[in-house]
Symmetry: D3
Subunit: 209 residues, 6 copies
């Protein structure tokens, strides 16, 4: 009789595709709230687990650092749940340059090494919050504000960063300014930077005009 | 009898302070959702009207421009409603420097003159959207992305900007970088700008270190 | 090497369709949160700019007024961003009749002429907020409440109205009551209006029964 | 040892006032998200139960109907939870006049008698949805749209209505138009109703001007 | 001329599919915010009315109770509106076992008989709220907390339950623990229940391992 | 002149308390959206950093595990930001018993050892998702669903868990059932567990009745 009950109760809810979660179907176009849901019958435990953050990112580059994301496009299990994660690796001297996440707030946890991190507010008297963090320390970066992380130690540093959205976005200020073909004159006008400085960084980053 | 009905129906809802709106009481500390509500009995039509945007802002300054906000702190009638407005005035040659609003998206309407406006995305192939706008044109700037406005004409320009939040915040990139006492070395590290450039703008803007 | 870095960082985020915005693809069915996103590779600056509000609407009609919307269906760049805009034109004697926007709050900015505007609350002692606005004045109309705008001057009046949603809806009370084939008897019952009054306006507006 | 564990785990969360719910403290001013929370130590089961809907409302009035709310101001247990409930009683011939709830959507369940209910949309071709409901039938009224309920049977009718907000508000169109001292001329202008009709209903409802 | 006006105003908004509501099209995959919207031209009053709760559910089962849902999958009119409803029927001795709704809060209204209902909080000193409810009493169960309902009378009991979401989900604790093939050893480890107890209930409910 | 500009622009926004963040003032009662904001002038970098997760929790207890939270009550910097974090420590044989977080979804990152984790859905055919995770693996637990973590290795295990809310709550099923004075008869009725089993665990956990 229990099985009968079970059957009845199960049946009632069986037709609802989105009952408990909505693993993203990346083959369909997303909407403002995320991707359409994968059919529940084809969802497995692997949809909720991601191993892409287990290995350190490649830090053999000019910033001596790497960001490895597990956002909705990499980890469809977070689709619709309003949170995501990424891994930061910084070799000695490594830095995650000044950037914002347009879509949400961030919490960072240091898991290896020493990280100096800061963010800039827009208050008049005290415009930045900057601190050196050890293993196990956490720091929160409120939504949309400019922030950065620097390896402040003599060994490699690792951190995990979490976001209050499944797709935080990433806007690195220096790239936004110098990587594209926005005319130098306009960049000069809207930043007060010198023309020579702009042209130099455009050259390095591949921007034109 | 109608009056009786009226009395009864009115009575039922009379005890609810927050029935239709929540004009902010700026004398109390705000919370994440905004300010506590002013008592409805002391609310008047003046709480819903703001005349502070009627006059042009003072553009006699180095950016030849002014931003006049009607956010919750200036216009408590928008408290809790998730929208606000500001006025932009740009003299000939005026510019609203590169900035973000951490809290929301923006729509701009040009009401006088010609405005060149743009925002920067983080896509690889096409990283900015830039257009010259005439009177009556509207442009939308998605949440948290770097954007700017320039007077592109030979007369003064005026625009109204609207936000999808009662308190959008304003982070002007150049001020965030150079106005404070964040050490020059750190600014250099997180932006790749030259030391001389940083020191020059710190000097102009009053930043130290 | 910078270019290498750039390449790596760009690559990481390149697969996310919804990174920074979600311009609506009007060819697909919308959902509760808006339209599915247009592919980012086909998005241009024109998706974020709308010129349909630049010209005055045609006010040669019985209300001597026109509402020109830039909601998601007209201006897909606002899709998913939670805000939209419309233009109001009122000839001398023009009026935007009593109406609500079911979906959100509104801010009005007068850009030409004089506008008398008001909204009705449901409090017992003070049920309406009514004010005459000059150029540059702003007024906020809290979500879902009945409101109206009247050209209160001797010249044409123009205003821009902004909404805290990409699709505010528009329910004009008089149209809702008299334009359809809801039986006169029911309209009488639910409004206390006289049968003759209802039939007269049904006749004018094309309602039946 | 279990007790020790218990103690430790309990302790960790004991300092959080808002852990599981936020019963409204009606003695403090509310904010946009609701009332501040009552201290958890003084919360009892009675905060989560409301008996004010058990008895029928008094329908000895001109609409032969009564609305009895259990919104946040009457039932503080719903504070912050985004839902509330009310009871409708309609004697024979009773009617809940045309109205909107600015703050949310509504589901109605008929528990006694027969109820004819409808709402008006703003589409061009099909502007209303109207149906006669029997005991056990449910009907949903989307957010902010004009709707009404009528006792369509020969016995009293009862229904419970639920809202997707703790404070839906209630704007009865006829009261909004005629109960206040908004000048007759303005009401005429914004509704196209005849002056005589307006003055008649103002007289009945106690409106002036 | 009015008809002309009507035509113009109607036209402006006619192209927006999602104007006032978004009845779910169950033939398309849902997303995090619900199902895509059915075309407005094919929407009828029947989309907003559901009669599936009019008849009592079958209580001839081991719990002597039945839950009949009107969630988005059964009642597509609630799609996108953030609320839904279900009917509870309990024969004498009937019980709705301990369960949670992961997605939202619940309000229960007793419409027949006597119902003992309770929920469990996680505070240290007072961890449950339990009350016997009569016809017309309402009780609220805050989001995600364990709760139950028992027929506490000598006749059948009926209640309607409302949710602050269109798809609340239902996780019955006993089924979650014993119905599946999660190894007995793990169930033992994470619940502290005895092996014999677990195996007994797995046997009854059809769980294995 | 720049300084003048700076002064003007700064002034405009200086009166807004909640500009960029809302560090919680724990001395005031919270509301549904969180705690009132601490005055920005008294906010320091220490409000955004928390070191309470740096040390392992004490696992000398019967579950051989500890949960150390950094929720709003411990880490007021997350107030209003919709995210929080906690640390899990599990000695060999340690287990975080079956539980839910009523308020949000969770992402877990293993930073040391091996963790077997799972959650239970309510679908009929496949009701649980269970996986053994190594260092660097992440797993997501959708909102409100029952889940657990077990040290599956031969050394201690550590993980950080992140939540899509500043106050996720924690409801441990076994404590909810047996720690309180809910009568044994009721627990039996709503769980189908045997009386002896219930009394045994009530005895261990300090529950009565």
């Amino acid at each position: 009789m229990f099985i009968h009950t079970l059957f009845i109760l199960s049946l009632l809810f069986a037709s609802s595709h989105a009952l408990d979660f909505c693993v993203g179907d990346l083959s369909l176009p997303p909407g403002p709230a995320g991707y359409p849901c994968k059919k529940s019958t084809s969802v497995t435990e692997n949809d909720f687990v991601y191993s892409g953050l287990a290995a350190a990112g490649n830090t053999t580059n000019i910033i001596k650092a790497a960001v490895t994301p597990a956002f909705d496009a990499q980890f469809p299990g977070v689709n619709g749940l309003g949170l995501s994660v990424a891994r930061l690796d910084m070799a000695v001297g490594g830095v995650i340059p000044l950037h914002t996440h347009p879509g949400g707030s961030e919490i960072l946890v240091v898991t290896e090494g020493t990280v100096a991190a800061g963010f800039v507010s827009s208050f008049d008297n005290k415009v930045y919050y900057f601190k050196t963090l050890k293993v196990g320390d956490v720091m929160v970066f409120p939504q949309g504000l400019l922030h950065f992380q620097i390896n402040a130690g003599k060994t490699k540093a690792t951190a995990f960063v979490f976001f209050s959205t499944q797709n935080p976005g990433l806007q690195i200020t220096t790239f936004a300014l110098f990587k594209n073909d926005l005319p130098t004159e306009i960049v000069e006008t809207v930043t007060f930077l010198d023309e020579a400085q702009i042209k130099k960084l455009k050259g390095v980053l591949g921007g034109t005009n």
